[in-house]
């Protein structure tokens, strides 16, 4: 049986890294969520106990994923993708509003966030499309279709509103680049994203002034050259400014107030009810007060004092920083780096294009989460509310990343030896 021999050939290094991160994550959730109201360890109303249940359930999920034939994931990728889109659309009708975003289904006592599962589904669908013999990613028509596959779930997620989760879909530019997409797309993508974010953060006037200044600078530097025409520069600047104004217009006139609030929170304009840039500030203080070795597990005064909002979820890394210090934080950072690098190695050694695209997608998604989340908690990036994979509290998030990673492990196990 292929199943048995494939099991032996699982990539145990990746699995080890996974369990290390989940385990350390839980230890920190325990510390961050511990308060006096717990009656016993087995108190189901406690966040840490709920997360433990989710972790145990994900073991079952892992066995399930590994037990399925690898071919299944490629063959059924379109159906999985469509089901996932339907579940996102269904939120508009059946979704429940929690903390201002209609991103959850509530079944019994559990809430499920379909956006967390849509990432894996999109990665499968993208792999299937690019892996198709007839697809040539260098052709514009095919690029367009690939972009549609990526953009659809993101478009359904934005109006929930959950711009943070939608932002993650930018990660798919990396597998496409790996498969031959022209680098101009990467530059353009980064440029537009930067314009978009800076428009919302600094306002149209400043960004327009910035654009004009930069274009003028480049123009005066290049004006001696033969091909330089002022008209082209003016046109380029005009297009950029038009983009900036349309972003502002859509934001102010098309979006509803709740969408704007959510974006403003994400951009740190309304970080919290106190309105004093509190979250990031507190998170930096928590991490900074950790020193070399930290204050010790469950000993963090910042953590205990509940100074950092959302500490079990998006700000879980501040607990690591405070209680385990520089050394502990570096262990976590290195574990993440090792996992992402290992995933990229697995991706490169896939024998078919489907597997490689999927693997790259996994690596890129993990990277974007890691980059944005730790960048935010350490005060390097503006506040964007997305979780730290395997670490942050939340069953849907944990399951979503588990599925994402273990499908790759399953593909790798069969791929290496049986194709």
């Amino acid at each position: 049986m292929t199943g048995n021999r494939g099991f032996v050939k699982l990539d145990w290094l990746t699995i080890f890294l996974y369990f290390a991160l989940v385990g350390i994550g839980w230890i920190n959730i325990y510390s961050a969520s511990l308060d006096d109201s717990a009656t016993s360890f087995f108190d189901f109303s406690q966040v840490y106990f709920k997360q433990l249940v989710w972790i145990c359930l994900s073991l079952v999920l892992i066995i399930f994923i590994l037990a399925i034939e690898a071919k299944f994931y490629e063959r059924f990728s379109s159906i999985i993708y469509l089901v996932s889109l339907a579940s996102l659309l269904g939120l508009f009708v059946l979704g429940k509003n929690i903390n201002g975003a209609t991103s959850w289904y509530v079944l019994g006592g559990f809430s499920i966030q379909p956006a967390e599962f849509a990432k894996a589904a999109t990665a499968l669908a993208l792999g299937k499309y690019i892996g198709d013999m007839q697809t040539n990613i260098k052709e514009f028509k095919h690029q367009l279709r690939a972009f549609v596959i990526i953009a659809l779930p993101a478009l359904f997620i934005i109006p929930q509103p959950d711009p943070g989760s939608a932002l993650v879909y930018a990660a798919f530019i990396f597998p496409m680049y790996r498969e031959g997409l022209h680098y101009v797309y990467l530059l353009l993508g980064f440029f537009l994203a930067a314009l978009f974010i800076s428009t919302l953060a600094f306002g149209v006037v400043w960004v327009s002034v910035g654009i004009l200044a930069i274009t003028a600078l480049i123009y005066f530097k290049n004006r001696k050259k033969k091909k330089t025409k002022a008209v082209n520069y003016i046109m380029a600047a005009a297009v950029c400014i038009a983009f900036v104004f349309s972003v502002q217009y859509i934001f102010n006139n098309v979006f509803e107030q709740r969408h704007r609030d959510r974006f403003n929170i994400v951009l740190g304009k309304e970080t919290d009810s106190k309105g004093i840039g509190y979250n990031t500030n507190q998170s930096e203080i928590a991490i900074g007060s950790g020193g070399w070795t930290g204050k010790g597990w469950t000993q963090g005064t910042q953590t205990k004092g509940n100074f950092v909002p959302e500490q079990q979820t998006d700000y879980i890394f501040s607990t690591v920083g405070e209680e385990w210090g520089f050394l502990g934080s570096m262990v976590v950072v290195i574990l993440f780096l090792a996992l992402i690098v290992r995933v990229l190695v697995l991706a490169e050694r896939q024998k078919n294009q489907f597997g490689r695209v999927y693997g790259y997608s996994v690596g890129a998604i993990l990277f974007v989460h890691f980059f944005v989340n730790i960048g935010m908690t350490t005060g390097l990036l503006p506040t964007v509310g997305i979780p730290l994979p395997f670490f942050s509290y939340g069953g849907s998030g944990l399951w979503g990343f588990t599925i994402l990673l273990f499908i790759l492990i399953r593909l790798d196990a069969s791929n290496s030896y049986y194709t």
């Binding site: 990396f174 680049y177 790996r178 031959g180 009810s273 106190k274 309105g275 004093i276 507190q282 930096e284 203080i285 928590a286 991490i287 900074g288 007060s289 950790g290 020193g291 070399w292 005064t301 910042q302 004092g305 509940n306 100074f307 920083g321 405070e322 210090g325 520089f326 934080s329 570096m330 950072v333 290195i334 780096l337 992402i340 690098v341 990229l344 490169e348 790259y360 690596g363 890129a364 990277f367 890691f370 980059f371 730790i374 960048g375 350490t378 005060g379 390097l380």
Partner: protein, 622 residues
């Protein structure tokens, strides 16, 4: 190269994070210090709420200081519960219950333990507050009413509940905000903006000064004063007249749409809803389901308008060119239609032309005109919808857009209404099926506010301003522009004079001739509206509502008024008299007909209101 891009980015990110972490955790040691001095206490500074004045500049509502005992559950240390509950004049159980509630709301945010202490209670408590960690006293300002009327107009203020706090992050537990009336409508103007002070505390909970030197602190902004269009004298007089009666009075200045008086009866003293007795009093008012003092009958009551509606039937008839002012119509004690069906009328001379028809309130005349209006069109559906369009232009059948937060749309039936009732197209219906509309019964329902509005539109000969109660904000003439916009009705100006002459004759020799005021030319119309109620599920007819609308003087009208007295029987019996007194009070400033005034002030309808609840059979329209 393509293989390497992401890998390189990942490694660069790793290096950057390592550097940043080293900087934060090892290199820069200031964070240790910061984490020790990290607790921030927020102190709010509540501004004075804006004052409310009436149109004559008389102060209606000002403020008085009040003190709330607040708690931050996380900071509470063990204390002598017996002593503290004694000081607060509450039981130990109540105290622990309210602490439990505060903890559920939030362990870190302040909650109210006891609202609205008096100055004396505050003085005795404030010396001992230091013994109770986690508790403190928050000063607020409460309303101080200079008057004992207008409760329905002013509304009241109350603590923000969880629903409001969720919806509007400006409000916190214990914050006060306007509910109902002016206080709610102009909440943001009256309340101002509260100031915030962030105070840095160390980890031993000692205050060590303003957070970041106070750069995030804000100063409170005082609420703006507002002036109402209400005439305090007239309003107060109207409430006196309505004692022991149910219903309402609403008076407008036709030339501006300003509301001069808005009386709902029964009413209550606004001061009842201030201070520690507030919740007890509120419960009492709330559970009075028989006289319903919190129900604003002027804005929320939907009644059949009765005969005053005939003026509109006449106007629409003229506009649709189905009648002129000369044509006379016979009345043989009523209007006959269908097979042996008759809508009765009272005794008067016959036949009558329009002016006399209005003065005598002849049912047959208006039924005839109404039927012609509907039957002018090929189908009754078109006829009804055309008739309805005229009425909507008078502000009926929908919320009127005045600046008070309660109201009802009333009802003007459309072709769809009757199609549904008669199951069209299975069964057909024709104009006679809707004939009661002609005389303001049937499916037509108006609020008293809508009645006064059409009266004002008639007084103005064809236009009106939306009724409003705000005269200015903060002393400047800054009312919303919607109230400066003239609304035209669909009736041409030349058709109003004959109808107004008819309304004048109502006082001259018609149904209200005994209510003339010497020296003032009044136009008005009586109304007597049949009505039904359910007591214990049983439908029964009650004594007719007494209705009256009027405006005066006839040329250059200064006041338009609608009076509604529930179960007051015929129009001029109660409503007409009250309207007459109100007009005299407003235009002359004093009452010459003291007998009439005496009769109204001492008259009571309480017996009438008790009848349906007596459990015994009773007579109506006595």
């Amino acid at each position: 190269m393509r293989k390497l891009l992401l890998l390189v980015l990942v490694l660069i990110t790793g290096v950057v994070f390592a550097g940043r972490l080293f900087y934060l955790q090892v290199y820069d040691t200031s964070f240790q210090k910061l984490s020790e001095n990290n607790a921030i206490k927020i102190q709010y500074d509540y501004p004075q709420r804006g004052y409310i004045f009436d149109r004559n500049g008389d102060l209606l509502v000002s403020n008085q200081p009040s003190y709330d005992v607040m708690v931050i559950p996380r900071d509470v240390e063990p204390f002598d519960t017996l002593e503290f509950s004694g000081l607060l004049k509450m039981t130990v159980e109540d105290l622990s219950e309210s602490l439990e509630k505060a903890k559920t709301y939030s362990p870190r945010l302040p909650s109210v333990v006891i609202p609205q202490l008096t100055k004396a209670e505050y003085a005795s408590l404030s010396e001992k507050m230091h013994k109770f960690k986690g508790f403190y006293i928050q000063k607020r300002s409460l309303r101080d009413y200079q008057i004992n009327h207008s409760a329905n107009v002013l509304g009241y203020i109350a603590e923000a509940d969880n629903k409001i706090i969720e919806k509007n992050p400006y409000y916190q537990m214990g914050d006060l905000l306007g509910k109902q009336g002016i206080e709610m409508q102009y909440e943001e103007i009256l309340r101002g903006v509260k100031g915030v002070k962030y105070i840095q505390k160390d980890r031993f909970n000692r205050e060590i000064g303003p957070y970041k030197d106070g750069i995030y602190d804000t100063l409170p902004e005082r609420g703006k004063d507002i002036t109402l269009t209400i005439d305090g004298v007239l309003q107060s007089y109207g409430e006196e007249l309505m004692v022991n009666k149910r219903g309402g009075i609403v008076a407008l200045e036709p030339a501006t749409g300003e509301i001069l008086a808005l009386v709902a009866a029964p009413n209550y003293d606004p001061a009842l809803l201030v201070g520690r007795e507030r919740s007890k009093n509120f419960t009492k008012l709330w559970y009075d389901t028989i006289s319903k003092p919190l129900f604003d009958r002027v804005l929320q009551g939907e009644y059949p308008p009765g005969s005053p509606f005939k003026a509109l039937t006449a106007l629409i008839g003229l506009q649709e060119n189905v009648i002129d002012t000369e044509e006379t119509i016979y009345c043989a004690g009523g209007y006959r239609y269908g097979r042996n069906r008759k809508l009765g009328c009272h005794a008067h001379r016959s036949p009558l032309a329009m002016q006399a028809g209005i003065a005598n309130s002849c049912n047959a005349y208006f039924c005839t005109v109404y039927r012609r209006i509907i039957e002018k069109y090929p189908t009754p559906q078109e006829g009804i919808d055309n008739w309805r369009a005229h009425l909507l232009s008078f502000g009926m059948g929908d919320y009127m857009g005045y600046d008070l937060p309660s109201g009802r749309p009333g009802k003007i039936p459309s072709s769809e209404t009757y199609n549904a009732i008669y199951q069209y197209p299975t069964y057909k219906w024709y104009a006679p099926a809707t004939i009661s509309n002609a005389i303001g019964q049937g499916e037509v329902l108006l609020t008293p506010m809508q009645m006064v509005n059409f009266t004002a539109a008639i007084a103005n000969r064809g236009w009106y301003y939306k009724p409003h109660i705000i005269k200015n904000i903060g002393g400047v003439d800054t009312i919303p522009s919607i109230y400066k916009q003239k609304f035209q009705t669909t009736i041409d100006p030349e058709y109003f004079d004959p109808v107004i002459d008819g309304l004048y004759d109502v006082y001259n020799y018609g149904t209200a001739s005994h209510l003339q005021i010497p020296g003032i030319e009044i136009c008005g119309k009586t109304g007597t509206a049949e009505n039904y109620t359910r007591v214990n599920g049983e439908r029964m007819q009650l004594t007719d509502h007494s209705v009256f609308v009027a405006f005066a003087p006839k040329d250059d009208p200064k006041i338009a008024i609608a009076v509604f007295v529930e179960n007051g029987y015929w129009g001029s019996r109660w409503a007409g008299r009250i309207a007459s007194l109100m007009i005299e009070k407003y235009l002359k400033g004093e009452i010459t007909r003291t007998d009439l005034e005496h009769f109204i002030l001492n008259g009571s309808l309480e017996e009438e209101y008790a009848k349906p609840y007596s459990g015994e059979p009773f007579l109506i329209n006595q």
